[in-house]
């Protein structure tokens, strides 16, 4: 009989890095029977994270698969499971199942310019892509990262921005919905900021993740800028339980987000019913 698809593997929290008042990056190590500290994964995949006794939730992987040992999840405190996760401490045990789902087609995109557009905690799966691109820097053209949050305090991965900006041929554009006295950067919504920056669609693929309302307007803005729907990629969020296409709730039309997604091109989404 095959392995039990519902049984989580145990993992230890190695570090907890606060990003904002309600977002923490958890670094995890599997307590692998063969000494492995993580599973193999690709940028864009997710895992089911458990706090035993509380439950399980699908969380996108924040780290890049390029360093051999790292497995990180940046998690916003928003529901029962994520609240329980935030109450844990370094050294505590959690359960992990995964990785699940498809991934961003980074191999196919080699040679292209990359436009990364994130909003809020939506930068979490984007960070896996960003760090992955940086570790394969020579294979891609220009990398532009446009990221926005509600306020300067809500921007995640702040400690990494300087490093990102120093990567060759890379631009980082930040915006917030509401600034404060110290904020010197742009104030305004991500889709508008995107239009101001006016990136060329030529040989460029846009990858976006954020709140649904942001994605909707980012996609419109990209179309206005001349991006075709094959060259816009996003990752979808749905309520999930099993992660493996059995429990029946995460479908968009006939596609299970857990199996057929979470990564879809805009072209694929246009061919799917809009629920």
């Amino acid at each position: 009989m095959s392995e039990n698809i519902y049984l989580p593997r145990m993992a230890t929290i190695k570090s907890m890095r606060p990003e904002t008042i309600d977002v923490t990056t958890f670094q995890i190590a599997l307590n692998g029977t063969n000494g492995e500290s993580r599973f193999d994964y690709e940028s864009g995949q997710f895992a089911e994270v458990s706090v035993l006794g509380v439950g399980e939730a699908p969380i996108s992987i924040t780290s890049s698969p390029t360093p051999p040992e790292t497995l990180e999840f940046s998690i916003r405190r928003v529901g029962q499971l994520t609240n329980a996760l935030h109450e844990l401490n370094v050294g505590d045990k959690i359960g992990i199942r995964g990785p699940f789902g498809n991934s961003f087609p980074l191999k196919e995109l080699e040679g292209q310019n990359m436009l990364i557009i994130g909003g809020g905690i939506g930068l979490a799966p984007m960070r896996s892509v960003i760090l992955n691109l940086f570790d394969n820097r020579k294979k891609y053209g220009k990398i532009d990262i446009i990221y926005g949050a509600r306020s300067p305090q809500d921007l995640v991965f702040k400690s990494e921005y300087e490093e990102w900006q120093n990567v060759e041929n890379t631009g980082l554009y930040l915006t917030v919905d509401r600034g404060d006295e110290e904020w010197k950067g742009n104030v305004g919504l991500v889709p508008n900021f995107l239009k101001e920056i006016n990136p060329s669609p030529e040989n460029t693929t846009g990858i976006t993740c954020g709140p649904p309302i942001m994605i909707k307007f980012v996609v419109q803005a990209l179309a206005e800028l001349g991006f075709t729907s094959e060259h816009v990629i996003t990752t979808m969020e749905r309520k999930m339980k099993c992660g493996v296409g059995k429990c029946g709730r995460c479908n968009i039309g006939g596609k299970y987000v857990c199996l057929d997604g979470p990564v879809f091109t805009l072209k694929q989404l246009e061919e799917m019913p809009s629920d």
């Binding site: 009989m1 095959s2 392995e3 039990n4 698809i5 519902y6 049984l7 989580p8 145990m10 035993l52 006794g53 509380v54 439950g55 399980e56 939730a57 928003v78 529901g79 029962q80 499971l81 994520t82 505590d92 045990k93 359960g95 649904p212 969020e237 749905r238 309520k239 339980k241 099993c242 493996v244 296409g245 059995k246 429990c247 029946g248 709730r249 995460c250 479908n251 968009i252 039309g253 006939g254 019913p273 809009s274 629920d275």
Partner: protein, 346 residues
């Protein structure tokens, strides 16, 4: 499949004795009259009733229980052991399954089997011998011939029992079935030769059974996405979930933890696409925010998404959902409307 069907008969007055023997050597599950007729494990043959059109609850529960512990965990973190519930390895026999419900197991096999196999379901399937019971007295709500099902000849079972005259005609359809018949040889006699004729005579009356046209149904569903048609059905629907509860092909479930510091368990339980929180996310987003969206999901899943993914419509024509829906939402009417294009008049 056995090349030659092993064919026997058993006198009706020996059936209880046979079932007693099965109950002794196997975990025997059969139709039992409680408040309603449903499939339950029995200790003796006399608990089983054969006086029913179809059970209110299908035997789905025997493979995909309404609640099922997936594993237990201990509370100290260190000593965490995710231990699946031990299952008895005793072989099971389900006696009296109808052709429609046998088909539903075939449909659920496609969900729970495959590459990412659900070992809980598949293990129960592997250790169960299915004995089908030919149906000659369908209800008005039945429409299984729509899906190519012959109620008098259940498929996907190991043995078929057919009530003919003073005896049951007993046919083994699989090796597993044939070897069970060998094992119980003392109860069986050779057929008298008129069984097929007697069966055909009984089946002749069934030609009047409802058989809907479903040719190209999934393609006809496609343009109806977000159609106002679902609005009118959604308005009627109470969201009670009885259709999904009784449906032999509905397989959606929830995963829930119970207990924490003192240790506990993760179990799964049936869930329903009719319920608002089925798709409600912690962020407050709900991709199916109203009953229209949920009703549409149910019928699209049965009639479009499932056939697109697995090649077959996820309905067996058992008629339970239309019989028990408190507001008479009727899948046969919906299929008829879709096929005839009448959805525009709603």
């Amino acid at each position: 499949m056995v090349t030659k069907v092993k064919s026997k008969i058993i006198k009706k007055n020996r059936l209880t004795e046979l079932l007693d023997k099965l109950a002794k050597e196997y975990d025997l599950i059969g139709p039992v009259q409680d408040n309603v007729i449903s499939f339950k494990q029995v200790k003796s043959g006399s608990e089983i009733t054969l006086d029913f059109v179809n059970s209110v609850l299908s035997p789905k529960n025997a493979f995909f229980p309404q609640t099922e512990t997936l594993f237990r965990f201990s509370g100290d973190g260190e000593g965490f052991k995710a231990e699946p519930e031990p299952e008895t390895d005793k072989e099971r026999v389900i006696f009296g399954i109808r052709a429609c419900d046998a088909r539903s197991l075939h449909l659920m096999d496609m969900v729970f089997g495959g590459q990412l196999e659900d070992s809980y379901y598949m293990r129960k399937r592997a250790k169960t011998i299915l004995i089908g019971l030919a149906c000659f007295n369908p209800a008005e709500t039945c429409f299984c011939p729509t899906f190519g099902i012959d109620p008098t000849s259940p498929e996907g079972v190991d043995i078929v029992f057919t009530d003919v005259d003073d005896r049951y005609w007993v046919q083994a359809l699989t090796e597993k079935g044939a070897s069970l018949l060998d094992q119980l040889a003392e109860f069986f006699d050779e057929p008298l030769g008129d069984e097929a004729k007697l069966k055909d005579a009984k089946a002749a009356g069934l030609t009047k059974m409802k058989k809907l046209d479903v040719a190209g149904l999934p393609d006809k569903m496609e343009p109806l996405y977000n159609d106002a048609y679902w609005e009118s059905i959604g308005m009627k629907c109470l969201g009670c979930g009885i259709c999904t509860y009784l449906c032999p092909t509905c397989h959606c479930f929830d995963l829930v933890d119970e207990g924490r510091d003192e240790g506990g368990e993760r179990f799964r339980s049936w869930d329903s696409c009719m319920f608002p929180d089925f798709t409600l996310m912690a962020s407050g987003e709900n991709p199916r925010p109203d009953q229209k969206a949920r009703v549409q999901q149910r019928f699209f899943h049965k009639l479009k998404y499932f056939p697109d993914r697995y090649g077959e419509v996820a309905c067996t024509g058992c008629g339970r959902c239309l019989k028990y829906c408190p507001v008479n939402i009727n899948i046969t009417k919906i299929i008829g409307d879709v096929m005839s294009g009448k959805t525009k008049n709603e």
